[in-house]
Amino acid sequence: MHIIATFEYSTSLELALSELENTGIPKKKITAFPLDKRVEPGKLFDSMHQSDGISLFDLAAVFGAIFMLLGTIYGYVLKLGPILWGLFGLIFGLLLGFLIDYTIYKRKLGKKIKQNKKEKISEVVIIIECKDHELEKTEKILWSHAALGLCKVSTPRNSGSSFRI
């Protein structure tokens, strides 16, 4: 009997593994396949623009500070004073920077940005070899530790496999 489950990288994944070992499934019956993410050294210099969204804040922060500064300065001669104009400048700069970055990356990546944001991505695949009577317990532990998906591969006499995702 095999159980295949997917997880995000997380502390609960390690809790799940240690709990499985506590219930008597030996370490060597558990195999983990951590999936490579997009951030690889080879592609490093492009990968800043991907899923982590960090570069969507780069220009926003730069423009936010510049326009907040300008708003503060010209607030001295404008009607509402430096505080409010500083605030307007900050909001304007943040939005402007974000929109420019967003349009550039959207053009570059197409629909990828949207997909990455909406879905939880499987990052680790766990395969556990267990006996039939351990199945229910194992499954329960996996689900209760934020498994993203789970698949049971049964022995041949049951002929076939059952999927649950």
């Binding site: 095999h2 995000e8 990288y9 997380s10 502390t11 994944l13 390690e14 593994l17 370490k27 060597k28 558990i30 195999t31 983990a32 396949f33 951590p34 993410k37 951030v39 050294p41 490093l44 210099f45 800043m48 982590d52 969204g53 960090i54 570069s55 804040f57 780069d58 922060a61 730069v62 936010g64 500070a65 907040m68 500064l69 503060t72 300065i73 010209y74 607030g75 001295y76 001669v77 009607k79 509402l80 004073g81 430096p82 505080i83 409010l84 500083g86 400048g89 900050l90 990052e123 680790v124 766990i126 395969i127 070899e129 591969v153 049964s154 022995t155 041949p156 496999s161």
Partner: protein, 264 residues
């Protein structure tokens, strides 16, 4: 006698992450122009972005000290609103001439270091030296974990420095909190906020000190940006460390597992 080393094995030469119970230091890929720009906003920020804290703290203190004595920020405000006489009046040449050399050096240095560190990051990343996920000392605890980047931004927006506390970067946190208090106090920012909120705009202008006020935009936005980007980077380190761990301890015979699976 056993000496304490950053990297104990001689075959390991570089690492992307070093943790203490009060701080995570790391190198990562940065856009050199963004770093240079932050140094231009306030000397010291670029070096803080690169996790060069001693350089950053000293440059920042130098900047505030010389800027305040020379009256540069106030002169910037007067020049930009067209009052050039007042700008000349407020500048103190005795202090002003210290400024340019260090200012330009700081920008150039942060740019060049970013380029260096980007190259070293590639080497260190590929070398894949062991990363420490957990540190405890007599007074503090620090651990790698998945944290939400936008939470840091929101807390930093409430009070600069809180975002750093959330990701356990204590030197940054106390640096930001202390300077924020000093700058807000001398600029009379809080009183000006009060005047602005009750609609007395000329009262706000009268009480604000432009010399100190001009530090606020950079410090405020930088604390949000920097704590955000380090949350993202620390999440990446967490994932890398966990992936390394799983590969080491949970792959005793991966191809056999897959073959067994195939037989069913």
């Amino acid at each position: 006698m056993k000496t304490k080393r950053l990297v104990t094995n001689y075959s390991q030469r570089r690492t992307i992450h070093h943790s203490a119970s009060y701080h995570d230091n790391l190198i990562t890929y940065r856009n050199p122009w963004v770093v240079a720009w932050w140094t231009a906003a306030l000397p010291g920020f670029g070096h803080l972005m690169l996790c060069k804290y001693i350089t950053g703290f000293i440059l920042f203190a130098w900047e505030v000290f010389v800027n305040v004595n020379a009256g540069i920020n106030a002169a910037i405000v007067y020049s930009m609103i067209g009052d050039f006489e007042a700008a000349k009046e407020i500048l103190d040449p005795n202090w002003l001439f210290f400024y340019a050399g260090v200012y330009v050096f700081a920008i150039w240095d942060s740019y060049r270091r970013t380029v260096d560190l980007n190259r070293l990051y590639v080497l260190a990343y590929r070398e894949n030296s062991p990363l420490a996920p957990f540190k405890i000392s007599s007074l503090e605890i620090n651990y790698l974990n998945k944290r939400k980047p936008w939470v840091t931004v929101i807390f930093s927006a409430f009070a600069p420095g809180l975002g750093y506390l959330y990701i356990n970067r204590l030197p940054s946190a106390f640096f930001t909190i202390i300077w924020w208090v000093i700058i807000v106090y001398f600029s009379r920012f809080n009183e000006a906020v009060l005047y602005t909120m009750i609609g007395d705009y000329s009262g706000a202008i009268a009480i604000l000190d432009p010399q100190w006020l001009l530090f606020i935009p950079s410090l405020y936005v930088f604390s949000m940006f920097d704590s955000y980007s380090y949350t993202v980077e620390l999440n990446k380190v967490f994932e890398k460390e966990q992936a390394n761990y799983l590969q080491k301890f949970y792959q005793c015979n991966p191809s056999e597992t897959l073959t067994n699976l195939n037989e069913f």
